[in-house]
Amino acid sequence: MGLTLSLLALPALGAIATALATRRRPALAMVVTTATLVAGLVHARAILTDGAVTVVVGTDRLAAVLAADGLAIGLVVLSSAVLLAATGFATAQRATMGPPLASFWPLSLVLLTGLHGLFLAGDLFTAYLMLEVVAVAGAVLVAFGGGHARLVAGTRYFYAELVASVTFLVGTALVWSVAGTVVIAELPGQLTGSTTGRVALALLTVGLLLKVPVVPLHFWLPAAHTLAPSAVSPLLSALVVKSAFVVLLRLWITGAPELTATAVAPLVGALGAVAILWGGVSALRATPVKVVVAYSTVAQLGLLLLAVPMVVDGSAEAWVGGVVHAIAHALPKAALLMAVAVLAHQLGGDSVDHLAGAATRRPIAAFPIGIAAVSLIGLPPTGGFVAKWYLVVASISTGQWWWAATIVVGSLLTAAYLARLLQRSFAAVPSDAASPRPRGRAPDVIALTLASAGLLLGLYPNGLLRLLEVGAPLGGVAHG
C-alpha cells in the first residue's frame, strides 16, 4: 500500500519542493523523478512475484481505489522514465535554447502525479480528479512558453479538456445514481441494463474520446503539441494522450464486459481506423516537422482504438497489442520530438526542408529520427513491431481482417510521412547552409537513448509482456 501511494506522493511532494525551492530546481526535479522511477520499478518487481494489488484509501463509499496491476505499473514506470529524460533534456538545453521558466519543474511533476493517478485509478471519481490535474498541468505547460499563439493553443486545449471533464463528471454522477458505486470493478452488469446506465456509459466514453483525442475530436491537438516548449511536447505526445485511453480500456473491459454483443465497439474501432488514415494523410501534407509529428500522434492513437473491438471480442492478443503499443509508442515519439527540436534549433528552421543534410551535419541528432521511424512504422526489432504483430494476429484470429488491412495501410502511411524527414536528412548538405549553431551533446544523447530503448523493447519484450499479464482482464498471451 505504501509503495503504491508513494507513486503519487513522491511526485506530488517533489512538485511542492521544486515550487518552494529558490535554486537547484533541475537537480531537485531529477532526484525526485529518479526516486519515483525506482519506486515504480520496485513496485513492478513486487507485483511480478505477488500479483496485482488493489489499494483502498479512506473508508466507506467515498474511498478512492487504486488498482496497481501490470498495465498501471508499466505505464507508471514509462512515464517516470520519459519525464526523467524530458527533465534532463530541459536542463541540458538551457545552455542553448534559453532557460525554461522556473515553473516547468513543479508543473511537470504535478503532471506526473496526475498521470500516475490516472493509470492507477480504480474508480471513476479518482479518475475524474486526476483527469483534471492532468488537464490543468498540461494546459499551463503548453501556454507557459509565452506568446499569443501559445496562449491561444493552451486555452483551446484547456477548453477541450474542460468540456471533456464535465461530460465525464456527469457520466460519473449518473453511474453513481444507477449503480450506487463508482468503483470500476464493481460495475459489470449494472450499466447496460438501464437507459440511464447506457447514457452514463456513453457520456463517459465521449468525454474520454475527446481527451485522447480521437478524430474528429482531435482539433486541439496539433496546435497544442506543436507550440508547446520542446521539453513539454514529448510529455504530451508520449504520455498524456495515453492516460485517457487507459481509463477507457478499464471502463469498457473491466466495467462493462457485457458490451461484447453491441455495435459500439466496432464503432470505436472505426473511429480508430479513420484516425489512422486521416492522421496519416495530414502528416503527409504538413510542412513544419512538429506538425508532421503531431499528426503522427493522432494516427498512432487510432491504433489504440483499433484494438478495442477485438479486445471486446475476447482476444488476449489484441489486448496485449494495444497496451504494448501504448507503451512502445511513447519512447520513439518522445525521442523524435526531442531530436526534431534540437535540429530545428541548430539548423535554423522548423520545416521539413530545414532538415536538408541533417544526417551529415548532425548525425547524432539525426540518428534518433531513423530509429524512431523504424519503431513507429512497426518494423522489427522494435517495440512497435511487437504491438503490430499482436494486433495483426488478433485481427486474423478474430476474423476481423479489415483491421489488419487498416494497420498495414497505416504503416505504409507512417513510412511515407517519416520517409519525408529521412529523405531530407540524407540529402546533400545545401551549399548555402549556415554552420550549425554550437550546442552540447547531451540533448542528442538523451533522444538517442530513448529511441534505443524503443529498440530494446523489441529485442527483449518478454519482461514487459510478463508485467502486463499481471492482473490482465483477458489473461496473457503465454497461456492464451
Binding site: 512504422i377 518494423l379 522489427p380 526489432p381 484470429s397 505504409l412 540529402a427 546533400a428
Partner: protein, 502 residues
C-alpha cells in the same frame, strides 16, 4: 537453454563478425581511415573463416542451432542447415570482396563511417536472413535489411539518389507489410512453424486449402518485391544510382538475393515441394518467373546506361532461381539452387567492372565503351567472362545453371521452359555481346568522357581491380569444376535430393 558451446555460438558469431564492426565503425571519427579499414577487413575475413568452420562442421554432421524466446510462443532461431549454408558462403565471400572493392571505390571524405557502418549492418541482416530457422526470425532480419540498405542507396544525397531511395523504401516497406500479414496469418492458423518441419502445414492441406493458397500468395508476393519479380521490380532500376559497391550489394550479395532465397525457403523448407505442387501453385510460379525473365531481358536490351542495363539483367537473371523453384524435378531444383551462387558471382563481377570503368574512365554508358578493352584489359576480361556466364556459354557457371534448368524442365514435363531459356539466352547475347564487341574491337574514342587519365597505370589500384579478377575467375572455376565435390553445383545437387525426396 543448452550449454554454451560452439554448436550454439557459431550462428551468433557469424552475425557478430559484421554487427560488432558496424557498431564500432559508427562510433569511429571520419578520419580514422586505417582503423576502419582494419576493422572492416578483420570482420570480413573472420566471417569467411567461420563459414569454413561451419562447412566442415555440417559435413561432419554437427547441427548448429541458437534459440531464444522472443515472446511467448515465438522463438528467434538461427540454424545452419544445408540451404542456409549455401547462402552464407555466398554472402560472406562476396562481402569480403565487396569490402575490398568499396575501400578502393569510395573517396576520402565521402562519409565513410556512415557508409561502412550501414554496409556491415546490411551484411549482418543478410546472414540473419540466411540462418533464420523460422519465418518470424526471417522477417526480422528481412526488414532490418531494408532499413540498413536505405542509407546506402541514398548515400550520394543527390536528387536522383533520393528518388531512388524513396522508391526502394516504399516498395520494400510495402513488400514487408504484405509479408508480415502472410506470416501473421500463418501463425494464427498453424501456430509457430519452423523451417524443415512440414507436418503442421501438411496437416492443414485438406481442411484449409484456400487459406494456405492465399498465405502462399502473400508470402511470395511480399518476397517478390525484393526479388524484383515483374511487376514488382520498379525500384531496382531506380536504385542503381547508388555507388557501385552498393549496387553489388543490392544485386548480388544481399537484397535481391534475400528475396529469392526467401522464396526458396518458403517453397522447399516451409510448405515443401509436395504441398506446393498439391496446391497447384508451381505452374503459376513458373509463369511469373518466365514472364520476368523475358521482360527483364527485353528492357535490358534498350538501356544505354550500363548500370541500368545490368539492373534489368538482374531482374531477368534472378528469376532463373524462381524458375528452378517452380520446376519439380531433381535437375530443376539443382539448377535453381546453384544459380543463387552463380548469379551472385557473375553479377557482382559485372558491377565491380562497371564501377571501375565509371570511376577510372568516366564511362557510364554502353555507347561509350568503344576500345575500353584495350585501355583496361584486366577489368574488361573479367567483365567479358561474367557476361558470357550470363548468356550461358560453356564452360561458365551460367551454362551449368541453364543446362540443369533445361533438363529439369524436360524431366518435370514442362518442356516449354527450354524455349524460355533459349529465348532468354538469345536476348542476353543481344544485350551483352554488342557491348563486349565495342569494348574489344572498336578504336578508343579520343574524346572519351571523363578524366584524361594516363594510358598506363590505370589498373594499378589493387583494391579496385582484384575483387573483379577474383570473382571473374571464380565464374570460370565454378563452371569448370562443377562436378567436383563442394562446388555449388554438386552442393545444390545434394540438397535437391533432400528437397525432391525419394
Amino acid at each position: 537453454m543448452a550449454e554454451f558451446g560452439l554448436t550454439t555460438a557459431l550462428p551468433v558469431l557469424l552475425l557478430l563478425t559484421s554487427l560488432v564492426p558496424a557498431a564500432v565503425i559508427f562510433l569511429l571519427p571520419e578520419e580514422r581511415e586505417r582503423t576502419r579499414r582494419t576493422i572492416n577487413m578483420a570482420g570480413a575475413v573472420a566471417k569467411v573463416a567461420l563459414t569454413g568452420v561451419a562447412i566442415a562442421g555440417v559435413l561432419a554432421g554437427i547441427e548448429y542451432e541458437w534459440r531464444r524466446t522472443l515472446v511467448p510462443g515465438i522463438d528467434l532461431v538461427l540454424r545452419i542447415d544445408p540451404i542456409p549454408l549455401l547462402f552464407v558462403t555466398l554472402s560472406s565471400l562476396l562481402w569480403l570482396t565487396t569490402t575490398v572493392y568499396a575501400i578502393g571505390y569510395l573517396e576520402r571524405g565521402e562519409r565513410r563511417s556512415r557508409f561502412f557502418g550501414f554496409f556491415s549492418l546490411c551484411v549482418t541482416a543478410t546472414i540473419g536472413i540466411a540462418l533464420a530457422g523460422n519465418l518470424v526470425t526471417f522477417l526480422l532480419f528481412y526488414e532490418l535489411l531494408t532499413v540498413a540498405t536505405y542509407p546506402l542507396v541514398v548515400h550520394q544525397g543527390t536528387r536522383r539518389a533520393l528518388l531512388g531511395g524513396r522508391a526502394y523504401l516504399l516498395y520494400s516497406v510495402t513488400g514487408g507489410a504484405v509479408l508480415l500479414v502472410g506470416v501473421a496469418w500463418l501463425h494464427a492458423l498453424a501456430g509457430p512453424v519452423e523451417f524443415l518441419d512440414y507436418a503442421p502445414l501438411a496437416g492443414l492441406a485438406d481442411t484449409h486449402r484456400t487459406a494456405l493458397t492465399l498465405i502462399f500468395v502473400l508470402l511470395v508476393g511480399g518476397l517478390g518485391v525484393k526479388t524484383a519479380i515483374v511487376p514488382l521490380h520498379g525500384w531496382l532500376p531506380q536504385a542503381m544510382v547508388a555507388p557501385a559497391p552498393v549496387s553489388s550489394l543490392l544485386h548480388a550479395v544481399a537484397v535481391v538475393k534475400a528475396g529469392a532465397y526467401g522464396i526458396v525457403r518458403v517453397v522447399y523448407d516451409l510448405y515443401g515441394l509436395a504441398l506446393v505442387a498439391q496446391l497447384r501453385l508451381l505452374v503459376p510460379l513458373l509463369v511469373v518467373a518466365s514472364v520476368t525473365i523475358v521482360y527483364g531481358s527485353l528492357r535490358a536490351l534498350v538501356q544505354d546506361d550500363l548500370k541500368r542495363r545490368l539492373a534489368y539483367s538482374t531482374v531477368s537473371q534472378l528469376s532463373y532461381i524462381v524458375l528452378g523453384v517452380g520446376i519439380a524435378s531433381l535437375a530443376g531444383v539443382t539448377g535453381g539452387l546453384m544459380h543463387l551462387i552463380h548469379q551472385g558471382i557473375q553479377k557482382v563481377t559485372l558491377f565491380y567492372c562497371a564501377g571501375t570503368l565509371a570511376k577510372t574512365l568516366g564511362v557510364t554508358k554502353v555507347s561509350q565503351l568503344d576500345g575500353v578493352g584495350r585501355r583496361m584489359p584486366v577489368t574488361m576480361t573479367a567483365f567479358t567472362i561474367a557476361a558470357l556466364g550470363m548468356i550461358g556459354i560453356p564452360p561458365t557457371a551460367g551454362f551449368i545453371t541453364k543446362w540443369h534448368l533445361g533438363l529439369g524442365g524436360l524431366a518435370a514435363g514442362q518442356g516449354w521452359v527450354v524455349g524460355v531459356l533459349l529465348l532468354s539466352s538469345v536476348l542476353n547475347a543481344a544485350y551483352f555481346l554488342p557491348a563486349i564487341a565495342r569494348a574489344w574491337f572498336r578504336r578508343p574514342v579520343a574524346t572519351g568522357a571523363g578524366p584524361a587519365a594516363p594510358e598506363r597505370g590505370r589498373e594499378r589500384d589493387p583494391w579496385l581491380i582484384l575483387p573483379g579478377v577474383a570473382t571473374g575467375a571464380s565464374v570460370l572455376v565454378v563452371g569448370l569444376l562443377a562436378g567436383a565435390p563442394l562446388s555449388p553445383a554438386s552442393w545444390a545437387a545434394t540438397i535437391a535430393e533432400e528437397v525432391v525426396g525419394p
